[in-house]
């Protein structure tokens, strides 16, 4: 180390100055997307007391920095799980089959906004929104159509659903029951992360405390009944998309996770019974090394939190398993085919970061939900990374890079500072009620926009190499569908469902649900019975709103 230090000093005083004179650097200072200063060169000297076993260990061993499995992608590639859904259940059923046919290995359902906020398609607030941003699901009937001809014992399904998670999970389970699939074979994920809704995505319904209580109900019930289900996907993705930095995304997501773990322990559950079923969801943005370092830091931090804070004993409880989506917010309208390149680089970062499952965005997403053509290219991007590039053939190939290890440590250190601050506020539920993460995210979004305008950050075709033409954008073939027709169809179907069901069973199911919620019981068994009785999403959520109330965001201006 002493010899290295002396050599570095010599390089800095002799070699470097001549070069700086002849070839001055492009910018005065370099920073990552999240504004972490990047030095010219990294050497072992940047990793001072760095201890391999303490910081990295081996894949499959604590602290899991190099991966949660000892064989990683050499044994099993990540799950290629394209977030999909639009229109009505019929359109989405076709899209799922299209993706399966082209080699997708896991399903992921995108729901429209009426579904996300738990209202029926004939609710006045739903007007004009049905089926645009995802599929509309208003009752068990819709879920039956989505999975028509798809064996639910053989696929795993992610459902990006938060406040209405108990309802959508119940619809899913009820359809699986009808298909004759035993509970131990039902696999997949409900996002079920209400805290991030208040921070970012804003499809909130109930006030924070009630929202968290319901999410915990889903987790508790799933852990006891669906051994293969991931009842929560603690999500940084939306926080990042709303403008957070990589560090904020990491810190706020783990802080959300800590809150959920505390709540579950508060129900007298042993940490090792539920921790192995917790999963995470991150964004893969465009600053390549920063993203890789973020994923590695996340694994190491969560392992420490689970082992040292919560006394987990099983290895599986310490695993941070995560799904990744490439950054929707990094895609632009200008020269939209460049988005394919951005997505490929982001996907590569996710893979080098050790993700378990990946969605690659389609290049047409700044305009509309993906066309088949664009979705196929996005899926092919993952397949090219998996089967052509060789990056999946060795584990954590960037481990040991001076820069990557330094950056992993740096991101970890910065994230702990945020977590300490949130802990000092009394945890994430309190921090959210105070609006703390919300304000941090808004500040970062604004700062990034200023950086773009003032030339400190770049987007090709937008603020650098601008071509001032929207012809390319004009020629992108967009997905065509008749929104009004779909809305009418969904309204019609929900009305039919209300008529054809066994009215007595339906009434009793909703009454029982209301009483269970009032008593503070776990609502899941009652929601499931209401689902089987063809209660609509709006009816079940309406019943819960009567008991728990609704949330209105406090004004920021």
């Amino acid at each position: 180390m002493k010899r290295l230090e002396a050599s570095l000093k010599k390089w800095e005083s002799e070699t470097l100055p001549q070069w700086l004179e002849r070839m001055p650097e492009r910018m005065e200072s370099f920073t990552t997307l999240s504004d972490i200063p990047v030095r010219r060169l990294y050497t072992p000297l940047d990793l001072k007391d760095w201890d391999y076993l303490e910081k990295l260990g081996f894949p499959g061993d604590y602290p899991f920095t190099r991966g949660i499995h000892a064989t990683m992608y050499r044994a099993k590639l990540w799950t290629m799980r394209m977030f999909s859904g639009y229109g009505g259940p019929e359109e989405t059923n076709r899209r799922l089959k299209f993706l399966i046919e082209h080699g997708e290995t896991g399903l992921s359902l995108a729901f429209d906004e009426p579904t996300l906020v738990g209202i029926d398609p004939d609710d006045p607030l739903a007007e004009g929104h049905v089926g645009i941003e995802g599929v509309n699901v208003a009752s068990l009937r819709d879920m039956e159509v989505i999975f028509d001809g798809i064996d639910m014992g053989r696929v795993t399904t992610n459902m990006t659903i938060n406040l209405p998670a108990p309802v959508l999970l119940s619809y899913y389970v009820a359809v699986a029951e009808k298909q004759g699939v035993p509970y131990h074979k039902i696999g997949g994920t409900t996002q079920n992360d209400p805290l991030k809704e208040f921070i970012a995505q804003k499809t909130y319904v109930f006030p924070p405390e009630a929202a968290v209580k319901i999410a915990i109900d889903v987790i508790e019930w799933s852990v006891k009944n669906l051994p293969k289900w991931n009842p929560i996907s603690i999500s940084g993705y939306h926080i990042r998309e709303a403008g957070a930095t990589a560090v904020q995304e990491l810190a706020f997501t783990l802080a959300d996770g800590i809150e959920y773990v505390r709540q579950l322990i508060g129900r007298s559950l042993d940490v090792d019974t539920f921790a192995p079923r917790l999963s995470f969801f991150f964004d893969a943005h465009i600053n390549f090394f920063e993203e890789i370092a973020k994923f590695r830091a996340a694994r190491r931090m969560w392992a420490k939190i689970m082992r040292d804070w919560f006394g987990a004993r099983k290895k599986r409880s310490m695993w941070l398993r995560f799904h990744t989506q490439t950054a929707g917010v990094s895609l632009v309208v200008q020269e939209p085919y460049n988005n394919i390149v951005r997505t490929a680089i982001e996907a590569l970062a996710a893979v080098l970061g050790g993700t378990q499952s990946l969605h690659t965005n389609s290049f047409d997403e700044p305009f509309r939900v993906p066309s088949e053509f664009a979705a196929k290219i996005a899926l092919r991007t993952q397949q090219i990374i998996a089967y052509e590039t060789g990056v999946a053939d060795t584990i954590d190939p960037l481990g040991g890079s001076y820069y990557i290890e330094w950056l992993t440590d740096e991101i970890e250190e910065r994230a702990w500072k945020y977590i300490d601050k949130i802990e000092a506020m009394g945890g994430m539920l309190e921090a959210v009620k105070r609006g703390y993460p919300q304000k941090e995210v808004t500040e970062s979004a604004y700062k990034f926009q200023r950086d773009l305008e003032e030339g400190r950050k770049f987007i090709v075709g937008v603020n650098i190499f601008r071509s001032d033409s929207i012809d390319e954008a004009r020629n992108v073939p967009l997905l065509e569908f008749d929104q009004e027709e779909i809305e009418e169809r969904q309204k019609r179907r929900v009305k039919e469902v209300r008529k054809m069901r066994n009215q007595e069973r339906w009434r009793r199911a909703l009454d029982n649900l209301r009483r269970a919620a009032e008593r503070g019981e776990n609502i899941m068994p009652y929601v499931l019975e209401a689902a089987r009785a063809y209660a609509t999403l709006g009816e079940i959520m309406g019943t819960l709103k009567e008991v728990y109330g609704v949330y209105v965001e406090p004004p920021e201006y």
Partner: protein, 161 residues
């Protein structure tokens, strides 16, 4: 920076009363990053900004614009419901006799929708990637035009009396 700075001076020193902009989110769209960034930028540029918050109906937005006596309405929509929502907003503004308030729209708008939206009377449409400087300058111009029209009308009315 220089263009932002000069706009700020024009905004602060031009009008007798500061230009007032309503930044609105309508429908179920929760993507408020753009709305908040633009609201913040307009405020920093010297505008008075009123932000509606989420889940407003177009009718509520039109009413708020009239009650607050704003110079420009800026709507942000990223969920694809823009045609439906903007139709309702423009209809309500007409009904309230407030269609002299210029309306601008920002968000993820497919190119084929630009023309139909313009024919509804929307003055400017900002696609993703538009700079804050451009948004601020165009909003300022629209506010300035509206104030000039109002002054002209006021002096006409004085003349008639």
């Amino acid at each position: 920076m220089s263009s932002l700075q000069s706009t700020r001076e024009q905004v602060l020193e031009g009008p007798k009363r500061r230009y007032k902009v309503l930044v609105a989110k309508m429908g179920l769209d929760g993507h408020d990053r753009g709305a908040k960034v633009v609201a913040r930028a307009l405020r920093d540029a010297g505008f008075e900004v009123v932000y509606t918050g989420l889940r407003q109906t177009p009718e509520q937005v039109a009413m708020a614009a009239v009650q607050e006596d704003v110079d420009v309405i800026g709507v942000s929509i990223l969920n694809g419901a823009h045609i439906h929502l903007m139709k309702r907003l423009m209809a309500k503004l007409r009904e309230l006799g407030a269609d002299d308030i210029p309306v601008v729209l920002g968000g993820t708008i497919p190119i084929p929708d630009l023309e139909p939206l313009r024919s509804l009377g929307i003055r400017e449409i900002f696609l993703p990637g538009t700079s804050l400087a451009e948004i601020i300058e165009k909003v300022r111009k629209l506010a300035e035009e509206k104030r000039m029209r109002e002054e002209a009308e006021a002096s006409e009315q004085v003349g008639q009396a």
